[in-house]
Every structure is written in C-alpha cells, then in structure tokens.
Amino acid sequence: MSSHHDTDVNPVIDAIAGRSLPGSANVASLAMIGIGVAAFATGLFAMGDHGAVAWGAFLVGLLWTLAVSQGGILFAIIQTGTWGRWGRPVKRIAESFAFFLPVAWVLLLVFLVLGLKIYAWNPSTIIEGGAVSLEPHSAEAIRSKPIWLTPMFFMGRQLLGVGLLIALDFVYLRASLKPDLILAAQRLGDKAPGWWKSITGGSTDVTGALKSGLATQARMVPFIAIAYALIFSLVAFDLMMSLSPWWYSNMFGAWTFVSSFWLSLATLGFVAMVGRDWLKIGPFLKTNVTHDIGKLMLAGSMFWAYTAFAQLLPIWYTDMPEETDFLLVRAYLPEWAWLTQSVAILCFLAPFTILLSRGIKKMRWPFAGICALVMFGMFAERTLIVQPSIFFGDPRTNFVWLFTTTGTWLGFVGLWIQVVGRALAQLPPLVLTDPYLETHPWDVHVHSADAAH
C-alpha cells in the first residue's frame, strides 16, 4: 500500500479482522482475576485488621495499573514532542494502555468510597491506634493538614485531577487513532469493528484526518506533560505520602511520576515482545527498536536509583525525627528490611547489571524476562511504600499478608490484560499513517554510505 513504508502494512491491517485476545492470555488473565478476588476477600475477612491490608493491596494494584496505563500515553507524547522515530513501531501499543484508564478511574472511586479508612488522618480510620491528630505541634505553625487532609476535599481533588488527565489523554488518543482507523476501515470494509465509527464519524478523508491529527497531537504534548507531572504528584502526596501523615518529602511526587513512567516502559517492552507475533508486527519491530527500549530501561533503572538515593540521602544524613521515621521503619526494621533490599535488587541492581549487556536487549524472551522483573519490582516498591504504614505485624511470617498483597496485585494485572488486550486486538497495532514511522532519510543516507564503502 504505502511506498514510503519500509515494510508493507497491509498484512498488519488484514490481521485485525476477527482478532481477539489469545486463548492462553485470556485464561491466564481470568485466573489472575480469580486469584485477585480470592486474595482481596481473604485480606478483608481473614487478616483481622478490618481490611486495612486488603485495601492497602487494592491501592497498590490501583497505583500500579494507573501508572502503566498513563505511562503509555506519556511514551507516545514523548515520541510526538521529540519527533522521535525509533519508538514509532511501538507507539500504538503504548497508546492502547490508555484504554484501561476509565476502568482505573472507577477503581479509584471505589477505593475512595470504601478504602479511605486506611488513612490514619481519617476520623473513621481502621488503622491500629485510631485517628491521629493533625493539629500543628507548634503554636507558630500555619494549620495546613487539618485543611488539606479532609475526606471530601481529598476525594474530590483526586477524582477531578485523575479525570482531567484521562480526558486530555483521550483527546490525544482520538487524534492519533482517527486517520489509522479510517485507513484500516477502507481496507477491511465490513470486517472493521463497529465501534471505530464513533472515532472516525464515517469519514473517508485520511489525509485530512492525519493533518489535523498530527497538529492536535503536537498541541496536546505540553498539556498532558504538565498535567501528568502535577496530577501524579498529587496522587503520590495524597494516596501514598499521607498514609504517614507526619512524614513529608518534596521529592516524593517527582520520584513517583518518574518511577511510574519507568514501570510503563517495562510493560511496553514486555507487551511488545510477547505480542509481536499475535499483532503481526514482527517486520516492523526490528532488533534496533528492542535495543532502544532496552537502553531506555537501563537509563530508567539508573534514574530510579538516582532519585531514590537523592531523596533518601538528605533524610538519612540530616537525621531529623519527623523525616527519618519513614526510612527507619523500611530500611532498618527486620520486618521490612528484606523488602527494601529486594526492591533495591529488583529495581536497580538486577536490571542495571543485566541490561548493560547489548545482546540481551536484542533477544526477545530474555528481554521480556527483564521487563517482567522490573514490573514485579515496581509492585514490590509500591508495596514497600504503602504497607508499612498500615500493617504493624511481621510480614515475613504472615502467609495471609503475602497472599493478600501479591494476589490482589495479580488480580489487577489480570484485569488490565483483559481490558488492554481486548482493545489492542481490535486496533491497528501500528501508527499506520504516521510519517515518522518511516526511517529518517538521513539514516537511509548513512546506510547507503555504508554500502558504498
């Protein structure tokens, strides 16, 4: 079809007709959802803590899936904003992650209505020891926490903020999808999924949709980037940092949104490797693309370690009591130190060491394995932030705690696979009409120069 593309996109379009989630992925994800429901129910009724650990696990699952889903759009806007070509073959896969965002918003609503009692500042808290007073310790201080940490204000800003971000994402997503869906619909005819019309509006003007789509995508870049930084910081401060109501770190928001993006990048690498044949994009997903994602992940592991270290070193060094408590519980108490050490290995030492190898970044299954390791590592990292603030027992000897936290997260992962997998099955898995899917003429020139030599 396209004389410009390095490889013919027609087989990619033809494969959309009648495609559904592969049977193995379907069964596995449904099983994960089943485990998740069982684990959450176990936590609610068998932990004997009024459901604190279960809702904490729910929060971790929510934050994990929200990060993955939002990070996909962030990857796409980075490609748009930097005119990057290397990542275009996986841009649509990244964009498809956003289809989970409305589900995440509903899950956030559920958590805010039913799970808000895990916050110690909430007057109706279920946390051991009861609600803490938020009144300042000094008569000279301005009262901020009693204003900021009130249930209705808390719920309202979270729902509005995350909702606004999702709305911006979908403006971008629609602009990116429309020309591709028009093009693919023309080839597929009646076999095209019916819901595409809600985006294409029955239009047949690919060039017009592409022109306006590229302009809209470019316009949305700064808005989404700014909203992402601000709203994910708000999510971090509210949903995670306020679990320890007297602890504060002004780096915490930045640390969270950076690590969230890294998690999403690992998931993108995993889905691209695992779904390559299913989506028929093998000819486009050459080893140089995998290699580049691997390099970005290597940089991500270093940056995660940098932000973690840069945040924790001043706290440890200055040793001020209102700050060190957070660190002491997680890094020094034997009950949690094992998890801190595991997170350091899973999120930095292992991926950093392994990804230094050029070869492994180009090998499909080993690379998918590293991506899975980081995905699990980020679950452990979020658990390390959340659980020590709400669970005061010894997790090493508590199987119910382990089952509740891990199983609930698996349930969220299963749900994410169901939603995103079904969306991706019905989408063109490549940005078909995007001119930046092409190899840059300079690169062509370099190749020809090489050939000449």
Partner: protein
C-alpha cells in the same frame, strides 16, 4: 501511497548542510585568518573585565575578607552564588555533547563543540570561587585529600568535600572528552597551516592520519566517554545541591534539590549557549552551521527545564506549607513577601525563570533571533538570582530571630563577579579563534559522500 511528505520544508530534522567536504573545511578554518574588528573588541572588553576582577581580588587579598559584605551568620554570599552559577553553566556542554550524542539527536552537531568549550571554561571559572571564598587563598591546597602534620584529614563526611571530588572528576572527564573530540579537527587545522603553527597543531593532533584503525578507536572511545560523562551531568550538580540540602537550615534542607539543581543547571547552560553562539555566528558568519534550527531546539530545552524548575519551586512551597513545620513555613513565606528584604530577588527569579521563557511557547518568538537573545539573557540573570535567593535568604532568616540580618554585596564582590565573566569570555574567545569551534568531522557526516557516479 504518500500521505504526507515525510521530510517537508518545516521538518525539524531537515538537514542544513554544506555541499562538500572542502567547503566545510574552508568555512571553519576561515576563523584562523586575520581577526575581525568585532572579535578584537570583544577580546579587549573581556580582558578589561578580567583585569578589573583581578584588581578587586587583589584588594581582598591585601585587606582581608572584611572588604566583602560577609558577616555572621551570612558567610556565604556572592562568591558561592557565582560558584554555583558557573558550575551550572558548565552543565549544558556535557549534556549536549554526551547525552544528545547517546540519544542520536541530530541538532547537536552544529553546537556541541562550542558547548563543550563553554563547559570547560565555565568550570575553570567556577573553580576560582572556592579559592576566593577562602579569603586566605594561599591555603587552597587544604581542599585536596592531604593530611596535616598531625595526620588529621579533612572531613570526608562533609558535602563540601564531596564537591571537591565531584567537580574535579567532572572537569577531568569533560576536558578529556573535549580534547578527544577535537583531535581529528585539529588535524585538519594542521594540514591547512604552515610553520610553527603547523607544528603546534601537529603535536596537539597526536599523529592523527585518519586511518581506518584510528577512526575505529576514535569512535569507540568517543562512545565510551559519552556514556561515562552522561551520569556525571547528573552527579555533579546533585552533589552541589547537597552542600545545602544536607544542612537542617530552613529553605535548604530539601529532598528535591538534586534534580531541581540539575534541571536549573541545564536551563542556564542552554540559555548561555544561545547567548554565546548567536553573537559568534554573526561574528564568524557561521549561519550555515549554527542557525535558527539549533537555537530553537536549545529554546525547547530551556522550556522543558523551565517547567521542571517551576514545578520544583511549586513543590517546595506546597510541601513547606503542608509540613506544618513553622521554620519551613516561615522561610518560604518570608521569601515570597514582596516587602521583605529579599522579596525583590524572589520575584525577579520567578519572572526570569518561570514567566519570561513562556514567550518561547510561541514558535514565532523562539525562532526570532532578537527574542532568543533577550530571553536567554533574562534566564541567565534569573539563574544567578535563584542561587542568591536560596543561599542568602536562608542564612539571613535562620532558626533564631536574634540572628536575622541582611547582606548586601560590596563593590569588591561585584567586581569579582564581572571579572569572572571577563575571564570566561576571554578563554572562550581565544578558543574560538584558534581551534575549530564547530565540529568539522561531524558536519562532514551530514555531507553527501563523494561517491563516483554521483
């Protein structure tokens, strides 16, 4: 089916390249010829500023630190502010040369050599200030890990000591990276010169002949240095930020300081590249190699880092308020009070670093040379003010109200500041006249190769 032309006239990746290798050589070597009046005037002005700064330092050397505005508890003033400022300026060079090399960014080609030179000279300038700040500068060797006669070592637990190691490492790696990149281009200069000049370039080009083996080693080492230098971009200013963040001083003890300082350094560095390269491009007629495409990309880097800085300022205020720590709340409230001693510094900082760069969201303004030059200059003022705001206001308004005071730099300190700008400009101007300030080798990579039949 061609839906759109993949490389249209407005494509940001549009090549801007000379026609032949010979044209590239001629254009860049031309700077070696007779100096222009503009260049000579600039050198004289830089030399005057440098001499004036030296004379001010001599006054301090003779009469002691009393000639500065330092007084307890404000013992860090213009010298430390300017030290951090120049270290920050030194960041953009390695960012542009190393990090943009690793991410295969095309626009770096025209500007990276001058940016690297800027890095080396900016760090050389910054290194003057700890010595100046000492007062008794003849004891500057105490900075080095060298015990006294009682085997007492310096305090390795001090962030100030970490700074010595971080900056000296950064300077060493940046200088080596800079020199390695220069070798093939110096060889071009050697081949186009005669007599003593040729011999000097011959020594500096370390026997470069452009053989296949040499290119192979060169490319390998260049990639290695790029990968090695990239983390240093983050580490150096992070360590500088810990000079402040490790202290419990209100307004200093902040976990966000490392990335905030790094972003600020890149912000000021990119603005300085615009401020330096634009006049140079006019002075040496380099428009074919350094032009609006490069300035626009630098402006976009500034926009991104301005956003990060604005975010960091906002987070400091939000968490300061949220903390319910009366000291944190007090310092941030006081800084932002327009009628307070340093309210003007705070609002000038916010205007220069957060508001003025917004102009560059308009493509028209970020591709207009006058607007680019003016906003870049405003950013440089703003980044100096940011360090002044952090350092001075926190010391002036510490825990104990009985120690609250104000600080005003004396003419000696202003003189040294002007002298540092002269010192930096002097070296940069000399470099641009004697070495290739635009990378000949990489420009040639964009030129269509002379293949037979074409």
């Amino acid at each position: 089916m061609a839906l759109v032309d993949p490389i249209d006239a407005n494509d940001p990746g549009r090549p801007n390249r000379p026609a032949t290798y010979g044209e590239t050589n001629r254009d860049i070597i031309r700077v070696l010829l007779k100096p222009t009046v503009g260049w000579a005037v600039a050198v004289v002005l830089a030399a005057i500023a440098m001499v004036y700064g030296g004379w001010c330092w001599y006054q301090q050397f003779t009469w002691g630190m009393g000639v500065s505005g330092y007084h307890p508890p404000i013992q860090w003033g213009v010298y430390i502010v300017t030290f951090v400022f120049w270290i920050g300026i030194g960041h953009a060079g390695t960012l542009i040369s190393a990090i943009l090399f690793l991410v295969r960014s095309r626009w770096r080609t025209g500007v990276y050599r001058a940016s690297e030179a800027m890095t080396v000279f900016a760090v050389m300038t910054a290194l003057l200030f700890p010595v100046l700040h000492l007062g008794r500068c003849w004891q500057a060797y105490w900075f080095f890990p060298y015990p006294n006669q009682r085997q007492l070592w310096m305090n390795f637990k001090s962030p100030l000591m970490w700074d010595v190691f971080a900056i000296s490492t950064y300077f060493t790696v940046s200088a080596v990276f800079f020199y390695v990149g220069l070798i093939p281009d110096i060889a071009v200069f050697r081949d186009h010169s005669r007599g003593l000049v040729r011999r000097v370039y011959g020594v500096l080009s370390v026997g470069w002949r452009g053989t296949h083996v040499q290119w192979h080693s060169y490319m390998g080492s260049y990639g290695f240095f790029a990968a090695f230098a990239a983390p240093l971009v983050l580490s150096v200013h992070s360590v500088v930020s810990w000079d402040f963040a490790m202290a419990p001083t209100p307004g200093w003890h902040s976990t966000i300081f490392p990335p905030y300082f790094v972003a600020g350094a890149i912000f000021s560095g990119c603005a300085m590249v615009i401020s330096l390269l634009m006049p140079m491009a006019y002075l040496f007629d380099w428009h074919k190699y350094v032009n609006t495409w490069h300035y626009e990309n630098l402006a976009k880097m500034c926009l991104l880092t301005s956003g990060i800085l604005t975010y960091a300022y906002g987070m400091e205020y939000f968490v300061g308020w949220y903390s319910q720590n009366p000291f944190e709340q007090s310092i941030f409230f006081w800084r932002a009070t327009p009628t307070a001693d340093y309210g003007w510094a705070f609002y000038l900082m916010v205007f220069c670093n957060c508001i003025a760069p917004i102009a560059w969201y308009s493509k028209k303004l970020r591709t207009n040379h006058v607007s680019l030059f003016i906003v870049a200059a405003i950013i440089n003022v703003g980044m100096w003010m940011e360090r002044f705001n952090i350092i001075v206001s926190s010391l002036a308004h510490n825990f104990d109200p009985a120690t609250w005071t104000t600080y005003a730099p004396t003419w000696i300190e202003w003189g040294v500041l002007i002298g540092s700008a002269g010192w930096f400009s002097f070296w940069f101007l000399l470099f641009s006249k004697t070495f290739p300030a635009i990378a000949i080798t990489e420009i040639k990579e964009m030129v269509a190769p002379p293949v037979r039949g074409h």
